[in-house]
Symmetry: C2
Subunit: 342 residues, 2 copies
Amino acid sequence: MCANLMQRLTLEKIGELAGVSRATVSRVINHHPNISSEVRERVERIIAETGYQPNQAARSLASNQSNVIGLVIPNVVQAVFTDPYYPRLTQGISAACNQLDYTLALFLFHSPEEEQFAVRRFSNNSLIDGLIITADNHINPFIPQLVKRNVPFVYIGRPETTESVTYIDVDHIGGSYIGTKHLIDLGFKRIAQLSTKHNTAGVDRDKGFRQAMAEVGYAVDEDYVVYGDFTERSGYEAMQHLIPLRPDAVFIQSDTMALGAMRALRDAGLSVPDDMAIVSFDDLPPALLTEPHLTTVRQPVHDVGMLAVETLIERCANPGQPPKHVVLPTELVIRGTCGAAN
Amino acid sequence: MCANLMQRLTLEKIGELAGVSRATVSRVINHHPNISSEVRERVERIIAETGYQPNQAARSLASNQSNVIGLVIPNVVQAVFTDPYYPRLTQGISAACNQLDYTLALFLFHSPEEEQFAVRRFSNNSLIDGLIITADNHINPFIPQLVKRNVPFVYIGRPETTESVTYIDVDHIGGSYIGTKHLIDLGFKRIAQLSTKHNTAGVDRDKGFRQAMAEVGYAVDEDYVVYGDFTERSGYEAMQHLIPLRPDAVFIQSDTMALGAMRALRDAGLSVPDDMAIVSFDDLPPALLTEPHLTTVRQPVHDVGMLAVETLIERCANPGQPPKHVVLPTELVIRGTCGAAN
DNA sequence: TTGCTAATTGAGAGCGCTCTCAACACTTTT
DNA sequence: AAAAGTGTTGAGAGCGCTCTCAATTAGCAA
């Protein structure tokens, strides 16, 4: 029997074939209790034989839930290409969706107009049960609008106003604290930082760096703090500014920027860690692309994604709940660039 | 009026407010002809004032079309992280979806079981109108199953069996031909290749290289052909094998591998293009990360994504159509690594 | 005026599912 | 043996939309 000639299967038809009512088939599919095992098996057999798949649209309409969640990534143009962070995050989110039998809708926005247009579609629409938002920087009007329109969402990172927003973040402050502390403990004195001002993660990492420095009474010379924007190129350029000052170590806020920084050092004929030690942040694949490999603060990007999905689904099920804030710990991964191996 | 207290808006209610029937409101929303402009304006005003959004689930159920398309990326684990190709492609696809008012569902699979499980959900499901498939390598059982289950799809790349499959591909053969030809024209004699066997793109690029070489009567010494797997690391290692043979130029099948290859050359104290000229393939962001920048064959990844969406939507509208095959042209981008600038 | 066509609108029947409610068949309790 | 409880099933009313079909009105020629 050819698929295209085959008439569409419905609950009704499956019921007919199994000699039960539509309602009973529905119960079997949704794993309701109180079905005689005899009937359950019969129905399940028919379903398996026919390859029946319930119609999602009808399900959504009747139950007012779609089992689809959206992932929103604004300002892609910059971010997605320069850093392996987003692919990694997306993978974690996707894995959790597959596991929990949810479908992932991806929304990449390239302009404020697209954002504006999309936000309307998210409400009262029944396409999307909820959203995972990754807004890499500062205030965007998205969040308040979602709150107003009552769209359940989980924010990845630390939002401007933490009240009333559920978010999953990584302990950036603690992470850069242990990264910097590691350099201090190794005896380095003139410790620079390759920082960024582009998002709250950057701001927090800066804070952790200063905390560690302050704790041991090292003054932070602002000339020793240079800024990039998470790209390889910006790391390269920032390091070029740093080289003449001859710090003996530098804490770099991302692996990708560390890649660029090491390129600059190599071009200047300097060796890592002998001429300058490096600790960076992320532990994404690029960390293994340098020689020696990067000593870096691992952030659990994959776990953040998984957790975001789980949290979102939970919130969709219990809309009344107070906002939840999760901050995941980081971990120092010691490799070659800090000189600790010597 | 608070959003959560606000009663759900329906066509019926909008009709009531505008003093027309549900059917008329539906007509206005779907831009049917034969609506008096007076009624149209009145209805549109009410819709704008109330912020009404049609319920997608009900729409899908009634019209049997969801305006959602799926993007399938198997074997993510490897591919997504090592190459900026997928993010770029995804961006193109997303842009087209936004423009055409479609929603993009992302399916990343990590295991054959997940694939198998998902393929069932795609059929007779009404969640997905059609699929864009990126299968980076060889035969997978996915395609025949989709054909059998009558799910409209567009394949990105060149599938094993081109019959009955609509695909969008890039002219890999022609691209590597012009890339190689460029090296030949510049007078290089001992031209090596950093190739891959991982997918049809690799096989095709290999073919183009050999075509160009054969055309001018250069024999291809198989020692001069080394293989990688599209990763930076594999480019590094492959180049290490090549260096002792001292070719004067090398055609490299991807920018990412070229990145690794240039790292190997630098570590060996060799300079590009003086000691070895390089032409690569892709023209993705990494092409500008090397010094000098990569001379490379640009493939229109973004356009492939856009075109895939348009083609898919067209096929969904006309299911009877014969399969369509599109092969997009490439373009040589001359920068520093080929030595042509000197 | 009458008759005809064309434009505009409404009524109503689904789309395939979920979920409540009632019915029925058994047990168990009194 | 009657009453009450428990487990299992079916009937039927929606969910909010689309789309066909018929009704109404308007426009125009005869």
